[in-house]
Subunit: 476 residues, 3 copies
Amino acid sequence: MAPVPLNLHPDRLFPADPATRGLARRLYTTVKDLPIVSPHGHTDAQWFADDTPFANATALFIVPDHYVFRMLYSQGVALEDLGIPRTAHAGEGRPLERDTRKIWRTFAAHYHLFRGTPTRMWLDHAFATVFGIDERLTPASADRYFDRINDCLGRPEFRPRALFERFKLEVIATTESPLDPLVHHRRIRDSGWKGRVVTAYRPDPVVDPEFDGFRENLREFAALTGEDTAQWGGYLAAHRNRRAFFKSMGATSTDHGHPTATTCDLPESACQRLLDRALAGTASPDEAEQFRGQMLTEMARMSLDDGLVMQIHPGSFRNHNPRIHRDFGRDKGADIPARTDYVRALKPLLDRFGNETNLTVILFTLDETVYSRELAPLAGHYPILKLGPPWWFHDSPEGMQRFREQATETAGFYNTVGFNDDTRAFMSIPARHDVARRMDCRFLATLAVEHKIGEDEAFELAPLLAYGLAKAAYRL
Amino acid sequence: MAPVPLNLHPDRLFPADPATRGLARRLYTTVKDLPIVSPHGHTDAQWFADDTPFANATALFIVPDHYVFRMLYSQGVALEDLGIPRTAHAGEGRPLERDTRKIWRTFAAHYHLFRGTPTRMWLDHAFATVFGIDERLTPASADRYFDRINDCLGRPEFRPRALFERFKLEVIATTESPLDPLVHHRRIRDSGWKGRVVTAYRPDPVVDPEFDGFRENLREFAALTGEDTAQWGGYLAAHRNRRAFFKSMGATSTDHGHPTATTCDLPESACQRLLDRALAGTASPDEAEQFRGQMLTEMARMSLDDGLVMQIHPGSFRNHNPRIHRDFGRDKGADIPARTDYVRALKPLLDRFGNETNLTVILFTLDETVYSRELAPLAGHYPILKLGPPWWFHDSPEGMQRFREQATETAGFYNTVGFNDDTRAFMSIPARHDVARRMDCRFLATLAVEHKIGEDEAFELAPLLAYGLAKAAYRL
Amino acid sequence: MAPVPLNLHPDRLFPADPATRGLARRLYTTVKDLPIVSPHGHTDAQWFADDTPFANATALFIVPDHYVFRMLYSQGVALEDLGIPRTAHAGEGRPLERDTRKIWRTFAAHYHLFRGTPTRMWLDHAFATVFGIDERLTPASADRYFDRINDCLGRPEFRPRALFERFKLEVIATTESPLDPLVHHRRIRDSGWKGRVVTAYRPDPVVDPEFDGFRENLREFAALTGEDTAQWGGYLAAHRNRRAFFKSMGATSTDHGHPTATTCDLPESACQRLLDRALAGTASPDEAEQFRGQMLTEMARMSLDDGLVMQIHPGSFRNHNPRIHRDFGRDKGADIPARTDYVRALKPLLDRFGNETNLTVILFTLDETVYSRELAPLAGHYPILKLGPPWWFHDSPEGMQRFREQATETAGFYNTVGFNDDTRAFMSIPARHDVARRMDCRFLATLAVEHKIGEDEAFELAPLLAYGLAKAAYRL
């Protein structure tokens, strides 16, 4: 059987109508080569600090990518067979597959599962543009893929820093816990390499009483900062201390991954009581929720002082599958979105700070029903609020289309912040930005062809959506 | 820099596909010149009673239009700088800008914020068709706009009655409180002018225990009607009295703007108890909700007697921003939609009156998720229920498209009621109806081109959606 | 007036764009003649057992079809005037219309109400393809329709078995209560007729403490099985007994129509307590919900043993209109969807069995907001979960489009199960499958034309969506 060609069609994602496609293509031409601003994501700073080669195709594309292995798992493939390592306290299970070629073949045998998914587009884009592959991944081509990718990875131009430059990354933000010493960021800075890798302050481990190891984390937080984190005042001072350190390491933003968007604005005595109970391990679920909610308001207050842009990523029911959590740990494709309210949840924070003009809070959601009902009306009124791009399961062509269709009429374009790739899959970054640029050009082309905006306006907006808004909103 | 042309393209809002666009255009030709039936809105009867000229461009387009100033506010422009007056009990703030030309320039400098929004389409439509302007609003054209509009407003053909006629308004409904003496409506009637301006009965101020001044309102309600509004029976009699008066002033409908769609069907003793507590100012939030819910059912009962069509507009979280409410008052762009249930909420009313065939209850929503899940299934079964058009944030091209796509398959067209402009922005009325007509023709054209209905049926439906259904449903 | 032609356009439901339409047409050509696999529905096995002719056009198309009469009812037509029989305990009402021709004329006079609805497409399809009618149903053609259909129904080739074969039904599943003796299924089997009609196990009457006659049902359940259904162990054994019997009559699936998707995983003592209270008629609504929820988990456990595929159809608020329920009984168009949660509701069942690889649970919904937020993420992770096709109000072109657009990017195609017609309207089965095939080909064509998948992949997927996935998922 002749190999099936892998064809990244130049018009992919553009609508079939020739007039709209033509304009979308012309718009895209003006933005496709703009540098990438990646203001939020989960790449590993160590890659750029060490600049050691990626190990092999399987370690690069399968093991770290929960989009990939969750789909195979849903169709009956054991995670062990994909080389996903088991935790220390895992129950009995299959032996871990260590033959990376065999894992790659398993992946190739299931590649058809990704038809119609963005994962398929991201992978094909990386295969074609990074590794120069021109046949589709199938069981027949699996070995050729594996050999070619591995061969490339051994070459200097496929090392992390070289790829960073080849991807035209103007700046990338990683995401770290306040407990992280940021040694890799420091080494990058000290290395003299010009790549701009900044951190972001993600305090969930010391802000969420239900986070694994919260009490130990607070002790470590005290040790790091010299503050008494058992006292509300000292605890807040510890945050201010670490925020300043993160800022000194390039951070321009914080990030908050809470189960809901709840915010609180409680008197200090109540805050101390919540902290006491959290430290005693006796906080009820409601009290844990209040603690997290209070901390969003505190973080907003600190952002007013230090200028860090605040991101809220609420609404993921983390570790929904307890067996997967026990055996494989966090971030293994078992996080499921939940219905999320913003209108009541954000009110305490908004009542306090909503009318400030030098604070930016960027809202994300996994619940698309809120685009037109809650997020666009909120962002179209409150000066502090802006809308983050479609997130996670909605970081996809249809998801982007729905976001623009449902948010733009009320919030406009200027209350949005461009694209986030939000990924730990380094190879997918150019692909994800490319999808976003194509989908935004498609949306603008449709507006212009239906005479809702002028063509000149579409050409003015395209680079803003691809580049300018992200840079401005994140103060990068 | 040469002025940018302001071009209302004749094919605007039609889809790019030539066959569909062609049919949409042909359908639109048959409806574009139909008279406007405006069965629900918030224009000021005094305009038509006094027929005095509108003051200036700023007073006409900016100060009263919360769609406009909320967007500028969201991007950091102070409401004071837009001439929005502060309330008596406002806190400290900026001085109020009184230079209307300066305000207009501020508006023009931010006009790009409206790209992709319906506000932009409405404004451009008014600029072009009412004022004959042919260049786009930009900082460079701001003064020319301001002068031209002001110049026009001084001329007789730009007075309210002349515009009413020029807009081909066959009838317009305003919305008044039961406490309103309707003097302007009486003066219009007595003036001999042929324009048909009718009122609608909006009893929120005397039906909602949480409304500002509820207790005083009930005293005034008693004084106006000679009924003892502290007794449940007298209180209902007062409503019947004012409904009859409103009906004598042309009203064919009532309107109810509640936070939820809750209805109740309580025994009379419970009603009296709720009224007692509401008058004592001791009603809990739950009791206030029950009171409002009971009153929807009472209003339905009265509508069965007097034939007024009932409208329910639930689900707005009013005055979400307390600082804006304190400093600038109600209706200042700080109302945010909330998730809204209908299936359980309407059941008490439906259990009592849902099967009547001479009662019409028109449902609106700010929560688009209910179109396919709740509203269309309810309206496709209960004889009393019909679906109002997309409302407020959803009165937009995409909002209309979603409404038709999500409601039609279950409710059909004949359980919908045509278009409402629902606006206090008089200049936007022709534009809003034009958008609705274009979007409905687009939807019908798509159905016909995809052979879901015949072309003959599309041509039969187009004038119903543009004109006939509203007139019939509202008994106008 | 010349008759209006009834034209089933060969390109119906395909998008206007010529390139996409062309590919959709080519895809459709490859699937339109595939046999129909109908894995879930509500046809009456007696039709195929007796093979007696259908009575007349009215009895065939109007009286049993709640999609039809609910729409007429919503526009003020009394159900009595449509020949819908009243229950024994009905209140006072109109006399029942028994003149089937007159009922047909009433239907024809309201046929325009169905414009834009799938009912219109299904009916036209049956009129044209089954009865060879070539003019549209209008008041003018009503009598010709009635005579022609009745004339056909008297002929041997319009008997149920002949139509079954003509419709190319490879297999059809009916749905029966555990209390059903399945005599018709046995007679079909004993008759030597080759048509494959299988049952499905729908235990709602013995699983839902709020089901009419639950206590009597459990006594009958005991009598049928020889088990003590008042004891938790005996009650479960009775289920195993009847499941085995159903399986022997061809069942490959169970089906569960609960008000919510709640599942529970309670200790046996709590189960016995719930059963005691249910049998005493003292179960609270919460306890009834727990009982149903526990039984979903028990059914999953039994499915692991006997291999029956499990279907969950949650979220219908049954008998929303109490007057219709009292006067006309169940399934009279008065069931309304309700907001439905899956993420929390399914967790107890998933915690217990979610990681099994030889269990299939197919999820349906009446709440479209869950496609992208809950169902696709769940099905894209848990091996036991698959997504059923759009159901009931969403079994429609727009509903199918939304399903594919919102579910595919996260769940892919292979976590879906093809089409269910789920109907009691036998004549509509070919039409419904035809709509599904057209809409799926349209979706695949759009993916290919926008270069998200290859054309070769679209051609591989089309027969899977039309035929293969249903057969595999339902183990038929």
